[in-house]
Symmetry: C2
Subunit: 376 residues, 2 copies
């Protein structure tokens, strides 16, 4: 019998304190726990229209060669992304979801000697990937709850103030999850101009395709101006491929080369590569998804006005509602109604619930359930 | 215009020197380069029988919900693995291929302060994942070319000699890739007994299902005895699911908890989870795969004897042949014959080619091509 060892204490320091990401509750988990069916999940900002039909069709071919390793270079998908957005393939790093590319940035550029900066209420993956490599985590205060136009949104002055010689990476989500808040062209461009060139700025645009506001920036157009800029995108949201795990980063070829060195050789699987490539060209599906989301947001804005519910400004495919009381019991009550939403106490918002925009019928069911549990 | 910055110099030290893994050449890449068709790829130890039919069938259901995130906990697949091998789910860490779990071990336990030990000619991913986190790389000399029974195989005495207070992880492949060599029950058990309990031993069993030798160890049975042991397995080889990326680690629940903290929340995609679960129970396919491989190995052993080709002892689904001259020109000549094999100069074996065991017809085509290019 060998001596008893505390293996946690043997882990590297960043990992010892690591708390993993808490995903939205899966439908099958709720089925197991409560023994109910007909569950509506509005917890993970998935596309209520399903997946791109062109992606579905592309899978029929890819399914014939499951035994072959994927193309580790992602040659065809990168060419398709480059073609669509006027980029070059060497600017692109493919990821197993954009979570993967966010992690690659942290593993390539952060360690115990430097610091990562991000905003309060920002996407939870930024502190996780920075913590795992032992970097200092610097949280910039968000706009206050009484901010006139963008409460809980990223505050760029506060972000700038956290940047110093020790800072290596700044993570910004635009629009941000779980708040839905966003940054306009002029303010974000001015911010980027003020960031030293040796500080890498990750602009996470997971929800960008949903945004119709003409003042919303096209950050890909800024890459030539800012060699320290990394823009990340995903196929998990509007493309409806969350199950397949595909995201990507766009940057200078030099930064992409570094990220691709850290990347696992087959990080995106062969079905995911094929489906993503097909989805990229499915303009009809994208347009339907934007229209469905825009209508759903209007439905929610009207319901909030009617019921006196406050919410955070949003241009994403979700709305974050202020319950004005602890949200956890309401979340549990909604589960018993068969509706899964997202509690976000872990984001410093214990009285809010984040709700994905669904179809009109799904939205109505959720609105009705929320009215019921609030009245109980 | 901002100052020109050398972003490579800003990367963490381990990453600055990182050389990425070189995969086998994809068929479509050779098609693009040489404009030829009817290509035979025996370069990546893929299953020549394709994928498990039960896995194919399971995908039909999973394809209906591409828009939903995978179950991040992998509940059903872990339960199926636990059931099949007499384990508990909390012992299991799922990976995006076993590459992913190997990387999780490195990221959880290795950093600049400690060292990783592995054998000369061992699987290339061990030095890559250890280098990426800046750990010291210690390479134990393998058995020499004139070893009587297991030339180029791991030498356990040399591995033991590399372990000291700075050592945190030892990587062992059994059987090893790209050599095909293996370690027997008694010698490996004695080695594990000699490893301090605060040194983690990763036993990579990617090819274990092909081995029929009764002296080959069942390392899963040793987990209770060695709390520092991590056994890794994959669905990329005998299960024929290399395109889907599924592997797993089995360990104490305590170590699995640490690995699962570092793991990306959705590292295995939903189609991969479904296919792997189904493949696990497809005994008929596994038996056919073992039989096909055993017959193919005999075919190759006979061809080697007939042609005077020396090879490294193997129990895997590949054979590594000593060309007795620089292998790179032979590799290129085989490409022009439409046959992709694997050059392994990067493993310190510049005169060897690693060839995957295929069907009888595939093996014969490769043998004929090899005879032709050797005679040219």
């Amino acid at each position: 019998m060998q001596a008893t060892i505390d293996y946690r204490a043997l882990a590297v320091s960043g990992v010892q304190a690591l708390q993993p990401y808490q995903p939205g509750k899966p439908i099958e988990e709720l089925e197991r726990e409560l023994g109910i069916t007909n569950i509506l999940k509005l917890a993970s900002n998935e596309n209520p229209l399903g997946a791109s039909p062109q992606a579905q069709a592309a899978l029929a071919v890819a399914l014939k060669t499951l035994e072959l390793y994927p193309d580790g270079s992602g040659y065809q998908l990168k060419a398709a992304i480059a073609e669509k957005f006027g980029l070059q393939s060497p600017q692109i790093t493919l990821g197993n979801g954009s979570n993967d590319v966010l992690e690659l940035v942290a593993r390539a550029f952060l360690d115990k000697q430097n610091a990562a900066v991000f905003a309060e209420h920002a996407f939870a993956v930024y502190p996780i990937v920075a913590q795992a490599v032992g970097a200092e985590l610097r949280v910039a205060k968000a706009n206050p709850p009484d901010h006139p136009t963008m409460h809980y949104g990223h505050n760029l002055a506060n972000l700038s103030a956290k940047i110093d010689a020790k800072t290596r990476v700044v993570f910004i989500a635009n629009p941000n999850n779980p708040t839905g808040t966003w940054l306009g062209k002029a303010e974000l461009h001015a911010f980027l101009q003020g960031v030293p060139a040796d500080v890498i700025v990750v602009l996470d645009e997971a929800y960008t395709e949903y945004v119709t506001d003409p003042d919303f920036p096209d950050a890909l157009a800024w890459l030539a101006e800012f060699p320290n800029l990394i823009v990340t995108r995903t196929f998990s949201k509007i493309y409806g491929l969350a199950g397949l795990r595909v995201g990507y980063a766009v940057s200078s070829p030099e930064i992409a080369d570094i990220l691709n060195r850290v990347r696992q050789p087959f990080n995106v699987n062969s079905l995911a590569l094929a489906a993503a490539q097909a989805a990229l060209g499915d303009d009809a599906f994208l347009q339907r998804s934007v229209a469905t989301n825009a209508a759903g947001l209007q439905q929610w804005f009207a319901a909030c006005a009617e019921n006196g519910w406050e919410y955070i400004p949003t241009v994403g495919n979700f709305i974050t509602v202020d319950m004005k009381r602890p949200a956890a019991p309401l979340y549990d009550a909604l589960l018993r109604e068969g509706v899964i939403v997202r509690p976000i106490a872990g984001y410093g918002l214990p009285q809010h619930l984040r709700i994905t925009i669904g179809t009109q019928a799904q939205n109505q069911r959720c609105i009705n359930a929320l009215k019921k549990v609030l009245a109980a």
